[in-house]
Symmetry: C2
Subunit: 346 residues, 2 copies
C-alpha cells in the first residue's frame, strides 16, 4: 500500500520535477536543463516547461538538487555566541553575502567552548557544506584533519591563531591599540590604565602588544597599568571595582574589550567621577549605547562589513581555485575619539 490515503495532505503535495515534466510533455532531464539554464532547449518546449512550473507552483528542492554533486550550496558559519551583538552583526553580514552569491548560510554557535566548536564543524561537514567561516576559540584550529581530508575551504576570522595553514582575516589589533596609546600620550596622559582579558585570545595578545610598543615608544613604558579580568561583564566589574577602590587612579583608561568599557564606566558613575575630567575613557569595540551616554565614549570601531566581505571574497576564491598557500588579510579599525577623551584634568 504505497500511500493510498488521499486525505493525507503531507509534503507529497509538493510538485516534483516529474510532475512538471509530465505536464509539459517532456522528460525530467529536459526540465532540469531549462531550470539550470544550461544547454539548448527548443523554444516551445522551454515555454511549456515554464508554464508548467508556474501552474504547479514548482520550486526546486536545493538539497536534493545538490545530492549528486559532491558539495551542497551551503556555507557554514561558526560564531562563539549569538547573543553578542558583534557576532550578531557578523552573522547578518554573511547572510547577505551568501544570498548575493547563491549560497545559503547556516550559522551555528560554539558557545565559547572549544569542544563544541569541533562538533559543530563536524556537523556542518556532515551537511557537505561548500565552505566554512569560523571565529575560532583557541590556539589550535578546530578539527583540522576532517576539514583537510574533505578539502573544504575554511576562512578563520576575528580571533585567528598564528600558524594554521588556513586563510584568515583579522583587524589591525596591535596598530589600532598603539594608536590609542599614542593619542592619549599626545594629549599629555602620563599614566594609563589598560583593561585586558585573558591573553589566550590572540586578539587580546595583539592588542596588548600594540599598547606596550606604543607606550615604550612614547617613553611611558612603566606608566601603563594593566588590569586583567575574565571575559564576561561580571568578572570585568569585579576587577574594576577592586582597582578603583584602591585609589590613586591614572588619568586615562583603555578597555581592550567591551565588557571592560562597561565596567570602567560603572565605577566612574558609582564614585561620582567625571569623564573626561577625572578619567579619559576609550573602549575597543563600538556598542550602541556608547554614542548616547554623556559624554559619548571614544571607541575603536571594527569594520564588520569589511571583515565579512574580505573573508567571503577569499572563500569564493578558494571555491573557484582550490589549493595554494594560505592567505592572511588585515583590515583597519576606525578610531573615533569622542568627547570621553581630553587632556588630563579637562
Amino acid at each position: 500500500m504505497p500511500d493510498p490515503d488521499p486525505a493525507r495532505g503531507t509534503a507529497s503535495e509538493r510538485p516534483t520535477i516529474h510532475d512538471v515534466a509530465r505536464l509539459a510533455n517532456v522528460s525530467p532531464a529536459t526540465v532540469s536543463k531549462v531550470l539550470r539554464g544550461v544547454g539548448a532547449v527548443k523554444a516551445d518546449n522551454a515555454a511549456r516547461i515554464h508554464q508548467a512550473v508556474r501552474e504547479l507552483g514548482f520550486r526546486i528542492d536545493p538539497l536534493a538538487a545538490n545530492l549528486r554533486r559532491s558539495r551542497r550550496s551551503i556555507v557554514g558559519l561558526v560564531v562563539p555566541d549569538f547573543r553578542n551583538p558583534f557576532f550578531g552583526s557578523i552573522v547578518a553580514a554573511f547572510e547577505r553575502l551568501a544570498e548575493s552569491s547563491g549560497y545559503r548560510l547556516v550559522a551555528v554557535s560554539s558557545s565559547e567552548k572549544p569542544e563544541r566548536e569541533g562538533s559543530q564543524i563536524e556537523a556542518l561537514l556532515d551537511w557537505r557544506v561548500a565552505g566554512l567561516i569560523v571565529v575560532p576559540m583557541g590556539e589550535t584550529p578546530p578539527v583540522q584533519a576532517s576539514i583537510r581530508d574533505q578539502n573544504v575551504p575554511m576562512v578563520l576570522i576575528d580571533r585567528v591563531p598564528d600558524e594554521t595553514g588556513f586563510d584568515k582575516v583579522a583587524v589591525n589589533n596591535a596598530e589600532a591599540s598603539a594608536a590609542v596609546i599614542r593619542h592619549l600620550a599626545g594629549l599629555g596622559h602620563r599614566r594609563i590604565l589598560v583593561a585586558c582579558a585573558s591573553p589566550e585570545r590572540t586578539t587580546m595578545r595583539e592588542r596588548m602588544r600594540g599598547v606596550m610598543a606604543a607606550a615604550e615608544a612614547a617613553g611611558l613604558a612603566g606608566a601603563v597599568e594593566v588590569v586583567a579580568c575574565g571575559h564576561d561583564v561580571a568578572s570585568a566589574m569585579a576587577a574594576m571595582a577592586e582597582r578603583f577602590a584602591a585609589g590613586n587612579l591614572p588619568t586615562a583608561a583603555f578597555a581592550l574589550f567591551s565588557p571592560a568599557t562597561l565596567a570602567i564606566l560603572r565605577e566612574v558613575e558609582r564614585r561620582g567621577l567625571a569623564v573626561p575630567r577625572d578619567l579619559s575613557v576609550v573602549g575597543f569595540d563600538d556598542v550602541e549605547w556608547m554614542q548616547v551616554t554623556h559624554p559619548p565614549i571614544a571607541a575603536v570601531i571594527q569594520p564588520i562589513e569589511e571583515i565579512a566581505g574580505t573573508a567571503w571574497t577569499q572563500l569564493m576564491h578558494r571555491l573557484a581555485n582550490p589549493g595554494g598557500a594560505p592567505c592572511s588579510f588585515e583590515v583597519t579599525c576606525r578610531l573615533d575619539f569622542r568627547a570621553s577623551v581630553a587632556p588630563p584634568g579637562q
Copy 2:
C-alpha cells in the same frame, strides 16, 4: 571516464554506507538498521558494523538520510534581525533546544522586511523543514498558503498577530505594562511620560492597552503623556530631544521599547537631570548596560528561555500530533524595579 583521477581528493573521500557495508561484509540495508538502532541484527554483525564505522570514520549524511522521508530533521527560525541581542538570545535558545531534540536549527533573518520574511520562509520550505518558528513582522502571517499546503507546523512568537490560525507564544505585554503604571502611581507619580513606537506591532498595541487601562483604573487617565517615535535609536532620540526641549516634564517615564530607554537617558544626561530625583525611569526589555549605569535602570524583563521553551514544546507536540485547533500561550514578564524608580522628588 568516471573520475579516474586519484589525486582529486574531493568529498568523494568521505566513506558512504556502502563502504561500511563492504568492510563489515553485510548489506547497506543492514548497516542502515544498526545505524538507526531499529530492528534486530545479529550481535556479531552489529559488532563488525560498529567496528567498520569506527575504522572508516563514517558519519551519516543527515540530508541524504532524510531524502526518502517527506521531511528533514531541520527546524527553521525566522527572526527580524540578528544584530538585535534580544533576537540573538532567541536564536541561542532555540539552537540549544533543537540540539537536545535531535533537530538542526537553521536561523535566517527577515531584515524587518515583510516581503523578505515571505521569501525566507519559502526558502526554508524548499528545504523541507519539519517545522517553523517565526517572529512575524506584521498583521498577516507570512505565506500562509504554502505553509498550510505543505502541512508544516509553524509557531509564531513575540510579535504575534491576533487571528492567524497558527500556534503562538507571547508575553503578557498588557499586564506587565499595567503593572509598571500601577507601581509608578502607587509611588505617587501623577504625570507619566510613555514612549511608544508605531502601533503596527501588536506588542506596542498591547503594551499601550495595558498602560491606558492601568492609568484609568488609577484615576490618571489624562495624566499619561504618549510620545510616539519610530523603532530605531535615531528616531527615538529625535522624538525625545524634542519632548525634553519643550520642558514641563512629568516625574516618571516608561519606555515601551529599548531604544526609547536609551533615548530618554541620553536626554537626562544632556540636561543634567538626576534619576530618579527629577525623573523615574522604567524600560521595557532588559539590556546589559541597564544594570551597570548609576543608578541601574528598572526594567520589564522578557523571559526569553521560557518563550523559546514554550514554543519548542508546542512545535514538537504538533510534529507528533498534527491537526487540531491553534493554541495561544502567554508567558509572564518579570519586573525589576531598580533604583531608577522612586517617589517623585526623591
